[in-house]
């Protein structure tokens, strides 16, 4: 359907109401119609002037370009005739110094944007109804996103595409690095394989220890919904997941209280796995938040095993008490990896056991302010913990007071890390120009460059 650009007003000639108390109504209608015709003619002339003005402006620009072209041609002709004369020019070195010919590939950007709308279309847009003033609600939001963006965001699709492109470039970079590392490791291949075998054995031991525990003490018992999923997810560890889990285990070798690492490690494994398993991610995200929350509660890692029997009586489950020993690694790995899943399935997140995750779905629309998103979850859980703490918290409270310094230190550490992550991400975004051309060029450079990735990317960053 064609878009209405110019509307001739008034639309209906004879629809005006005839006032009462008039003798000759037919004449009245005729006169009203004639006056409406005159108004229509005036709006028609206004639109005609608009049309001719646009065409005239375009033709003017072409006239300017043609003139400049004519000047260049004249200069060229003069230069060509001057070729025969032996003019003293610079030496051989200068010929090599002069840059090679490159046609200027200026790409038109922002062709169809708000600024480039024709005046008639802008008038139509301005005369239409305004959206409700949702911008006033921005002051009441916890994360500093414009409240209007949830209703109508003109840059939504561009932001989505931009984040996807940046993420793809990052992924490709990481893949390249991994491939390079693997190539380097292939040189010392035998050692690598031995180490890998050892790691696999360890994992199985941990799994068996998990099975050895009574059902009550197993952390998966907490989530009845997660049991079918958790079981299948545990069985289906990919090589990447195993490597990641082993990395986490090795990063905290002193924490081999056996039930402890598998839970967050497998949570991390599920993070590292493909993003197709939405359900796993929803539960894993909860595990991450549990881990982040209860690391505030259960300070002592070695005493972690004593807490579960006590806290099982309370309503809120602390398998995350077991998961507490790897708090910082968890948050470091969990949040950036988990940032993407919440966007894809806002509806799945509600299927948990009534856990406080309200701040998560709203940022679901944004793929990349996850750092402001995840930071709220650790803060409300402590509040809820304080509320529920009266139930089973009698034993935890004295422990908490004793370790308050350690707790606060851990809290500060994690908060510091989150701020650092935020700052890192913001600093990463600063050199990114909001051009489709630069983003695409960067992406293509990463894809087609075999080596010297960083130098190519740097060049693309600084050139427009």
């Amino acid at each position: 359907m064609p878009l209405l650009k110019r509307n001739i007003q008034p639309r209906h000639l004879c629809h005006g109401a005839v006032p009462d108390g008039i003798g000759n109504e037919l004449e009245c209608v005729t006169n009203n119609t004639l006056s409406a015709i005159i108004r229509q003619l005036s709006s028609l002339s206004k639109h005609a002037e608009n049309v001719f003005g646009e065409l005239f402006n375009e033709a003017n620009t072409f006239y300017g370009r043609a003139n400049s072209l004519q000047d260049r041609i004249d200069r060229l002709a003069v230069k060509v005739t001057q070729l025969d004369s032996s003019v003293e020019e610079v030496s051989l070195q200068d010929i090599n110094l002069r840059k090679a010919f490159k046609s200027s590939t200026v790409q038109d950007q922002q062709v169809l944007s708000k600024d480039s709308t024709p005046s008639s279309v802008a008038e139509m847009h301005n005369s239409s109804d305004r959206p409700p003033p949702l911008g006033d609600l921005t002051a009441y939001r916890e994360d500093s996103t414009d409240a209007m963006k949830f209703y109508s965001d003109p840059s939504y699709f561009f932001d989505l595409w931009k984040e996807k492109m940046l993420q793809d470039t990052e992924d490709k970079r990481k893949e390249r690095r991994r491939q390079r590392e693997q190539k380097r490791c292939v040189e010392s291949s035998t050692l690598q394989r031995e180490v890998k075998k050892v790691r696999k054995a360890r994992n199985r031991r941990q799994e068996w220890n998990m099975m050895a525990f009574d059902k009550e003490l197993r952390p998966d018992h907490r989530h009845p919904q997660s049991l079918p999923r958790g079981a299948s997810s545990e069985g289906s560890l990919s090589p990447d997941g195993r490597l990641l889990s082993v990395f986490l285990c090795l990063s905290r070798p002193d924490l081999l209280g056996y039930p402890v690492p598998p839970v967050p490690s497998q949570a991390a494994c599920n993070h590292a796995q493909s993003r197709d398993h939405h359900e796993y991610h929803s539960i894993d995200y909860k595990r991450v938040t549990y881990a982040a929350a209860t690391e505030l509660l259960a300070a002592d890692r070695m005493n972690g095993s004593t807490h579960p029997p006590a806290d099982y009586n309370s309503s809120l489950p602390p398998p995350p008490a077991l998961g507490s020993p790897i708090p910082s690694a968890q948050t470091a790995f969990g949040y950036p990896l988990v940032a993407l899943p919440p966007t894809s399935h806002n509806g799945v997140l509600h299927g948990g056991p009534g856990y406080p995750l309200p701040p998560v779905p709203p940022p679901g629309l944004h793929m990349f302010p996850p750092p402001p998103g995840p930071p709220p979850p650790p803060l409300p859980p402590p509040v809820h913990r304080a509320g529920h703490g009266g139930g089973g918290g009698a034993e935890t409270k004295p422990v908490r007071d004793g370790r308050s310094d350690l707790l606060s230190a851990i809290r500060m550490g994690i908060q510091l890390k989150k701020v650092q992550e935020q700052q890192e991400q913001q600093s990463k975004r600063q050199p990114v120009g909001n051009d489709v051309a630069t983003i695409l060029s960067r992406r293509i450079a990463v894809e087609y460059s075999d080596s010297d990735d960083d130098s190519d990317l740097d060049e693309n960053e600084w050139s427009d």
């Binding site: 004449e27 005729t30 028609l44 003019v87």
Partner: protein, 82 residues
Amino acid sequence: MAGQEDPVQREIHQDWANREYIEVITSSIKKIADFLNSFDMSCRSRLATLNEKLTALERRIEYIEARVSKLHTYISHIGSAA
């Protein structure tokens, strides 16, 4: 009775005449609007072809300028060397 009909009839006749007049005017307004639209479209298409030709010319001129300047330096160097 005939006397009563005549003024009414005259009014109705006059009204019909007025309506025909108005109809003529509105149809010509529509013709003007149609003409404006088609003129706008044809002008834009012609200007677009002009734009294409201009850009092609500009690129050719850039290339020719680069060739000429390179030749210029070569020839002058040879001229100075010889």
